[in-house]
């Protein structure tokens, strides 16, 4: 178990390193740097002024030196005025150091968001909190419904209930968030007026059924059918197992067979599926946050990418890759823990 964990953690670290390096390379492409310089300097800046801004803030230093600076294994340099040689902090709104210091991800410094003019940690913390809230409600809605639908349709394979629920599940998996979001908003916000088509007020702490239902339902729908399908398949497999037949022959009631014998074993596979669904939901969260104007992680990611906010973008990719890898690890371990027939080695 210990060596399994150590190997997994090693692979995780390597993946994170490779991935951030790729992102770092892409955001530092010449057109992207120019975009950053244009958004950070005043209107109508000449190309010389843009170049000057990039040089002054250290964007022209060697690629790997800058990556190492971001990691924290190379000292972070202050901005140096080429005329006077005086050192000043790079971005005053982030209280960056005046003298070269080691300050990177390893030291817990995620850098400075040029778009939001604040420390990345401040911006990201608030955004993650908001998204965490959204995710919590999504999970609270999606998992019970999906499991119930899957178990009900899987316990009598081929019945009318099963067919109806299966078609509904397939329909929800074919409805991406930007489609269900539009349809739900039209029906419940524009036509019926029951719910709010914008969750902007939810960001400011006024969370209510009125403004938060549509985003939560929209994210849940796409994943719900998928989990339900997997639960159904797992339930069918269990219901055909020998020990269920034995229980039936013993004359137990159908309800007791399902609840006492089948349910626990049928829920092992969906656990893995739900864990692996997290990264997939992330895309949905981005779409929904943009669509309903909810200031969370997804909105931050889109803003960062749209403005080439290098540090924020790197932090966002770090967070999401951590989420992906952590859920993978949990699903591996949890699967072994739930299923005594499998041992991690």
């Amino acid at each position: 178990m210990a060596s399994f964990l150590a190997r997994q953690l090693g692979v995780m670290l390597l993946t994170m390193l490779c991935l951030t390096l790729i992102v770092f390379y892409l955001v530092n492409l010449e057109p992207n740097l120019r975009k950053l310089a244009i958004s950070q300097t005043e209107m109508h800046a000449t190309s010389q002024e843009l170049e000057g801004w990039l040089v002054r803030n250290g964007y022209r230093r060697p690629f790997f030196a800058r990556y190492a600076t971001w990691l924290g294994i190379w000292p972070k340099q202050p901005a140096v005025d080429p005329a006077t040689g005086a050192a000043s902090p790079r971005f005053s709104y982030c209280d960056e150091p005046k003298a070269p210091t080691f300050s990177g991800v390893l030291q817990g410094d995620l850098g400075c968001s040029t778009k939001f003019r604040t420390k990345v940690a401040n911006k990201l913390g608030a955004a993650l909190e908001a998204t965490g809230l959204l995710m919590f409600w999504v999970m609270a809605l999606m998992i019970p419904v999906a499991l119930a639908v899957g178990v009900i349709s899987g316990m009598r394979e081929g019945s009318r209930t099963d067919r109806t629920l299966s078609v509904i599940s397939i329909a929800t998996t074919s409805t991406p968030e930007y489609v269900s979001g539009v349809v739900l908003t039209i029906v419940f916000a524009t036509w019926l007026g029951w719910l709010n088509g914008s969750a902007a007020s939810a960001t400011e702490g006024h969370l209510s059924f009125y403004n938060f239902t549509l985003p939560v339902v929209t994210v849940s729908i796409y994943g719900m059918g998928y989990v339900a399908r997997m639960t159904r398949a797992s339930m069918i497999e269990v219901m055909n197992a020998q020990y269920i037949r034995t229980a039936r022959l013993k004359g137990l009631s159908f309800a007791s067979i399902v609840l006492k014998h089948a349910l626990r074993n049928a829920l092992i596979a969906p656990f893995t599926v739900i864990m692996l669904l997290f990264p997939w939901l992330l895309t949905g969260v981005v779409i929904v946050e943009v669509m309903f104007r909810y200031q969370g992680f997804g909105q931050a990611l889109v803003d960062a990418a749209g403005n080439n906010d290098i540090d924020l973008l790197l932090a966002c990719s770090l967070v999401s890759v951590m989420l992906v890898l952590a859920t993978q690890l949990i699903s591996d371990i949890g699967y072994a823990w739930l299923n005594p027939r499998i041992r991690v080695h």
Binding site: C18, V23, R34, T175, V179, V182, P279, S320, V324
Partner: protein, 383 residues
Amino acid sequence: MQFLSAGQIVLQSFVRLMPVWASLAIVLGLSLAFRKKLGLYGHVVQSPTGFVGLFLVGFWLFAAIFGRAIGLFDPLGQIAEMKDALPGAIDPHSGLPYLFGGDKLARDVFSRVIAGARIVLIIAPLATLLALSVGIALGLPAGYFGRRVDSVLSFLANLVLAFPIILLFYLLVSPGILETPIPCTLAAIFFAFPIALFSVFFVAGYRAQPMKHAIRLAATLLAGAWLFATFVFDADPFGLMRVSPSTLNIFIAVALASGPGIFRIVRSLTLDIKTREYVLAAQTRGESPWYIMLWEILPNARGPLIVDSCLRIGYTTILLGALGYFGLGMPPESPDWGTMIKESSRFMRIFVHPALPPALAMMSFVLGLNLLADAIREQSLRD
């Protein structure tokens, strides 16, 4: 301004779609009539889910084929009076109706949805095919050889899978990146896979029927060269097709996003199939590894791969829509469904009608593919 009544809108839309209904009736009728002789396909047509799936996919396929004949207006054309026109409004100049109304820029929603079908139905299946060839070309050796090859390839696949898709799209499909050599390099790598796959396929089978395979190999290389010139360098020697850099970029991004998933499936199928007797027999005969992979393992993995491809085209359509929704890659006036949803969702509180048709189009097409995949899986498990 004059309007058609609701009944007239339905009737006229039905009439406009006549070529689609006629083709659907012919194809589905023939399929049902000869279902006994059509093997698995016959069973799929006969099952209710399969029939509905085929109907929906066929509908959009024929809508894409006959697109120019169905649409009443130019999908990009603007008629100033028709701005935000409600469904059924009649254009005073031509006397023709905007069946589903006009959008914010006074374009006909009906014609745009039909024109969008063409874009979606060209890009999504082709990008899936590209991803499929990459996934097969890498998944087979990863599963067959195992060890180091598998570790490296699986690591790469997991790396891409760990990427949040939206971030990948923002980084790869931004307009700035077109100035860099990255899209072309990636395209060159990606399009090399199908060519290499087919070449190796024929070279490995060369011993059995030398003449036949030599001809096929030559044909592959010629077709591959044309494909390469057209897609990667946008320099079709015959001038038949033009692939703009931004379209190419979409191809690459979508293939990159769905390739690792296919890789994983092919890999696990290979791991399963390589322990079968016929593979062991081929190994004992001393066949080369590539012969075994491409001529013994791949044909036996086709069932799950066909089902997955069906689902995958739907997924690719969704990704394509997401690209459009975030305004990446496609030109802003493009009539593809994702861009249409984005454009109309901003004014959804006031005007509903431009948002609904593309949303329902996207939903029904993907639903059709998913139902079809489900029917194929069910029918193939039955035998």
